[in-house]
Symmetry: C2
Subunit: 213 residues, 2 copies
DNA sequence: CGTAAGTTGCACATCCGTGTGCAGGTTCGG
DNA sequence: CCGAACCTGCACACGGATGTGCAACTTACG
């Protein structure tokens, strides 16, 4: 339960290694199960992790604690992945961000599910703020430089870009598709919302090496 | 409970008029409340309708019965509204359908919420099939006649159109917007996904009188 | 190999929502 | 104005999920 083991190594015996494995297994199972049903019981999650429900309480005090940990974990992953992306051209940058989110489908979807309702809404959207800011900034700059449509308020357009990505992720969940198809669809959808027609979007993808998977 | 009152008027005294009012109030309240939280309790719904929970059971046998009635009701409304739409040009038709759905935000959103998970998924998607078929057909024809992009499989594109509409409805729920803005946004989003750039979409809207609100 | 960490299974209390029964009140409608 | 239809408030049974306590077992690790 306490991550700071090194703090007081005095008389205590160290944390068992398999316990940490189980903790991760639970988080992994929680991601998978809650993605299908955000109201799934702890029993279902524990079972999916190959543990008993009782054991779960050895790692997480409450259900909320588990979900909170899961979300925090996934938010870190996603933000780290997005942070690595750089591109001078706003629309290309946004398409790249979309593609990156596609590669983290499960994390993104589970976050989206808890971002709408439940006790974690605000906490979560606070954690995702950096990502949102980046999208908004890219949209704004792109609109000013004429690379992105300016007939829609940039704050709104930024949220529509979010929506476009989630839309494709939903589609992928209901009708499984291979990685290449998914990435292409995300890029096309994002560029479409940003104001590119089909040919223009394809051209931009073709001339952006990072978008050629 | 029984809608077919006229069937056996013999010895029975007729249904009280205010009871039917209450039934409708419950359905209306259910739509509003379940839109915010699909797991809201019957208590919350009854309260929103200005009735006691106990009275609710006089109109609907079970929770499922209530939700089923609500969805059936809304599906009928939406399908009827969409049925009235006609337009020879596929992209314009799809934009019009989107705008019509926008005018039924609450119904559409509540349906979307129960279309994903829960016991009504299949039943609901069965009821909405005519709408889906129409969208798919328009997309297919549009792609064949060169009015709509053909670089995305038409079944997939049809579902992305759905997603685009829902995306705007979500946006409208979180950041309320006036009717005109909403209709414009829906039309632009749908056309964007169909392969139109910003200018092209605006042009198509301008030359389609039914899309000028 | 011994000990502590970890897991299991069970029992139990608790909470919350659903669905039902019933007595008593209010209101519509003939 | 009478009676039936409707609503209320309360009680209760029930199921499902959460969270806790405890004894017994298994496993990792020094």
């Amino acid at each position: 339960m306490n991550t700071f083991v090194d703090a007081d190594p005095g008389l205590q015996r160290s944390r068992r290694r398999d316990a940490e494995q189980n903790r991760l297994a639970i988080l992994r199972a929680a991601g998978a199960v809650l993605n299908r049903d955000p109201d799934a019981s702890l029993d279902a999650i524990a079972a999916a992790a190959g543990l008993s429900r009782r054991a779960l309480y050895g790692h997480f005090a409450t259900r909320d604690d588990l979900i909170r940990s899961l979300l925090a974990h996934r938010v870190r992953e996603v933000l780290a992945a997005v942070d690595r992306i750089e591109h001078p051209d706003p629309p290309a940058l946004l398409a790249l961000i979309g593609v990156t989110l596609w590669r983290q489908v499960e994390s993104v979807r589970v976050m989206a599910q808890f971002a709408l309702r439940g006790p974690f809404q605000h906490e979560l959207s606070y954690g995702l703020q950096p990502l949102r800011d980046r999208v908004k900034h890219a949209v704004t700059v792109g609109a000013q430089t004429g690379r992105i449509r300016d007939d829609i308020d940039s704050a709104t357009l930024a949220r529509l870009v979010e929506g476009a990505v989630l839309s494709v992720l939903d589609e992928a969940t209901r009708f499984p598709m291979d990685a290449a198809t998914g990435e292409r669809l995300v890029a096309l959808s994002v560029l479409a919302i940003l104001g590119y027609d089909a040919a223009g979007a394809r051209a931009l993808i073709a001339e952006t090496p990072e978008l050629r998977s």
